[in-house]
Symmetry: C2
Subunit: 343 residues, 2 copies
C-alpha cells in the first residue's frame, strides 16, 4: 500500500530533490537530478504525494500543480489531511525543529532535510518527540548514497587497503559560500561518522569566523580522533576547481585517492589514475545496479514492513554535536576532548 | 680573505651539494644541481676547499681529486690541518653530534647537514659546545632557499592574502621512503617554524609506525597551533604524482595554491593557475636575481664580518623538538600540549 506523503517547503529541495525522487523522475521538474542518482531507482509505486505546504500559497500551488496534488498554506490543515509521512524541506534550517515536532505530535512520520537542526539539543528534542509519539523520524542524509562514498565504504569493507591509518576528505568551495558548516558539513561529517561507526574523542577545528552568531562560516577544516577508527580530517576549503583530491585514504597496503561524485556516469572518469588499487578500480556492485536500497525504499520498508532505518536521527544529532565541538575548538583555538555521547 | 673549508663525508651531499655550491658550480660533479639553485649565485671567491675527510680513504681521494685538494681518513689529522670551517655531511645522521662537537672543541666553525641531530637534547649539546668554544654553528636548512618557499614568504610578508587563517603544506612521497620524518620532515618542519616565528603550543600527528626505534617512518602528517601565527599542517604522504597542492594558504582576502619547486625555471609553470592572487603571480625579486644572500654568502659574512646567522642552530633544534612531540602524539594517539621552549 502506497504511503501518503506530504512535502513541506515548495522550493528547490521540495520539488527537485524530494518530489523528483518520490516520482522516480517521472515528473519533469526544472532541475531534476534524481533520475541520474542512486537514490531513486527503486521507489516506483511506493509513494503518493498528497500535498505541498508552503508559507507562500502561490509557491505551494505551483508545486501541487506540477505533481497533480493539493496545496496548503496552513500547516495545521496540511497535518489534518490524510498525509501519513511529512517531508520537511524548508529554510532556514532553524524551522526544522518546530515543523518536525508539530508533525510528530499529530501522529505523522517525519523525514527532515539535513541539517536535522541547528543544535544537538534541538535534535535531541526531535528524537524525544518521535519516541513519545511512537513515530518514525529520519534525516535525508543523501550523500550516504553518493557513489564516491559507496565506493570508499566498499574499499574499507573489503579491506583492500589493509588496516586504515588515516582518512582525509577535503572538498573545495567558493570564496563566500556562507553557512558551509551546516549546509555542506552536515553531509561530510555524517559520512565520516558513518565510516568511523563511533563518536570522536578529540575534535580540533579551524574555521572562518567561528564567533558568528548566524553560522555564516565560509569554510572549515575539522580533525577527529577515534578509539577504534583511523584519524580523520574533513574540510570544505575555498579553492575554485579541484586542487584537493577529495578522498585520500592511507592504509597499510596502499592508498586511495578519489574525486567527489554522485552520478554513476561520472565515477569512472573521476577515479584518480594514481590510486594504489590499480587503474579503474570500481566496486562490482556499482558497475551494475546498486544493491543498497535507496533512501525512500528503505523508509517504505521501515514504515510498512518494520525493517531498520538506514539513517537514524541519533546519527544526525551526533553530526551536529561534532559541529558544536568544532566551533568550540575554533573559538578556543585548541583541541577539544569530546565526552562520550549517547549514540 | 677566503675561508678554508673542509668537507666531512665524501658522498652525495659532500660532493654534489656542498662541493658544488662552494665552487659555484664550476666543478662539474656528477649531479651538480647547485648552479640552477638560488643558493650558489654569490659565493665565488669566498671559500677554498682545503680537504675531504671520509672513513673510506678511497672515497675521500676521489672527491679530493675532483676538487684539487687533500684527502683524509683520520678525523683528528683533518681537524689539525689549517681548515677553519668544517662541513658535516655524513650518514647516518646520528654521526652529526660527535663529529660536530669534536670540530668545535678544536676551534673550528661548523656547518652541519640537516637534520642537526636525532634528538633535541643532542642538538642542545652541540649548541652548548659552540657557545663554550665560541665558534659559529649553523645547519644547512637548504629548503629555506627553495623558490616556492621564498614565494610563500613574500606573499605573507606583503600581506597579499590579508590575515592568514591556515597554512597547509603537503608533499607526496613514495610508498616506502623510510626515515621520512628526519630526512624530509627536517626541511618542511623548519619552513613552518620559520613562517610561524615561534614554537607551537599544540602538536598533533599521525605517522606510520611511531614506535619504530630506527625512525623508519614512511610518512607523517603533523598539525600545529601557534599563539601568534595561523594553524599549520605539514605532511609527507604517500601518493605518486602531485595529487596534493603542496602549499595551500588561506587568508581573509583569498587563497594561494602552489606546487613545490626549487629552481627558478620551474617556478612559473608550477604556480597553479587557480591561485586567488591572479595568474602568473611571481614576486618581483624572484623574477630577477634573488636578493636573499645564499647560505654560504651569509655564513661568510657571519665569520668574516660579524653579521647575523640566517640559520641559527636553535631553530633546527626546535624542529627536532617538534618531531619528538609529533612522535609522542602519534604514539599516544592524542594532541600534545607543547611546553614553551627556550628559543
Amino acid at each position: 500500500m502506497k504511503i501518503k506523503i506530504g512535502i513541506v517547503g515548495a522550493g528547490n529541495a521540495g520539488i527537485n530533490i524530494h518530489g523528483s525522487a518520490l516520482t522516480a523522475g517521472k515528473i519533469p521538474t526544472s532541475k531534476s537530478r534524481f533520475p541520474h542518482r542512486s537514490q531513486s531507482y527503486d521507489v516506483e509505486g511506493l509513494y503518493e504525494i498528497t500535498g505541498f505546504y508552503d508559507i507562500s500559497l502561490e509557491r505551494a500551488k505551483e508545486a501541487a500543480k506540477l505533481f497533480g496534488t493539493k496545496a496548503y498554506d496552513d500547516y495545521l490543515k496540511f497535518l489534518s489531511s490524510d498525509v501519513e509521512l511529512v517531508v520537511i524541506a524548508t529554510r532556514p534550517h532553524s524551522t526544522h525543529v518546530s515543523l518536525s515536532i508539530q508533525a510528530l505530535e499529530k501522529g505523522k512520520d517525519v523525514v527532515v532535510e539535513k541539517p536535522i537542526a541547528m543544535t544537538s539539543s534541538e535534535a535531541q528534542g526531535m528524537i524525544d518527540a518521535a519516541k513519545k509519539y511512537k513515530r518514525t523520524l529520519t534525516v535525508h542524509q543523501s550523500s550516504r548514497w553518493h557513489l564516491d562514498f559507496l565506493c570508499v565504504k566498499e574499499i574499507l569493507k573489503k579491506n583492500l587497503l589493509g588496516r586504515v591509518q588515516m582518512i582525509k576528505m577535503i572538498k573545495p568551495c567558493g570564496e563566500k559560500s556562507g553557512g558551509v558548516l551546516h549546509e555542506f558539513g552536515s553531509h561530510r561529517i555524517d559520512q565520516m561518522l558513518v565510516l568511523a561507526g563511533e563518536f570522536p574523542y578529540e575534535v580540533s577545528a579551524i574555521m572562518e569566523n567561528p564567533l558568528a552568531k548566524d553560522y555564516s562560516f565560509g569554510w572549515f577544516d575539522i580533525s577527529m580522533r577515534f578509539k577504534n577508527a583511523p584519524p580523520m580530517e574533513v574540510g570544505i576549503l575555498p579553492s575554485e576547481g579541484y586542487v584537493f583530491p577529495c578522498w585520500y585514504i592511507k592504509g597499510e597496503k596502499g592508498w586511495w585517492v578519489q574525486d567527489w561524485c554522485d552520478r554513476t556516469e561520472d565515477l569512472f572518469q573521476k577515479i584518480q589514475k594514481k590510486s594504489r588499487l590499480g587503474y579503474d578500480y570500481l566496486p562490482e556492485f556499482l558497475q551494475v545496479k546498486p544493491k543498497t536500497p535507496s533512501f525512500y525504499r528503505n523508509l517504505y520498508e521501515v514504515i510498512r514492513e518494520g525493517k531498520e532505518l538506514m539513517v537514524r536521527p541519533e546519527e544526525s544529532r551526533n553530526g551536529i554535536r561534532v559541529m558544536e565541538l568544532a566551533v568550540e575548538s575554533a573559538k578556543k583555538k585548541k583541541t577539544i576532548k569530546a565526552g562520550g555521547i549517547n549514540v
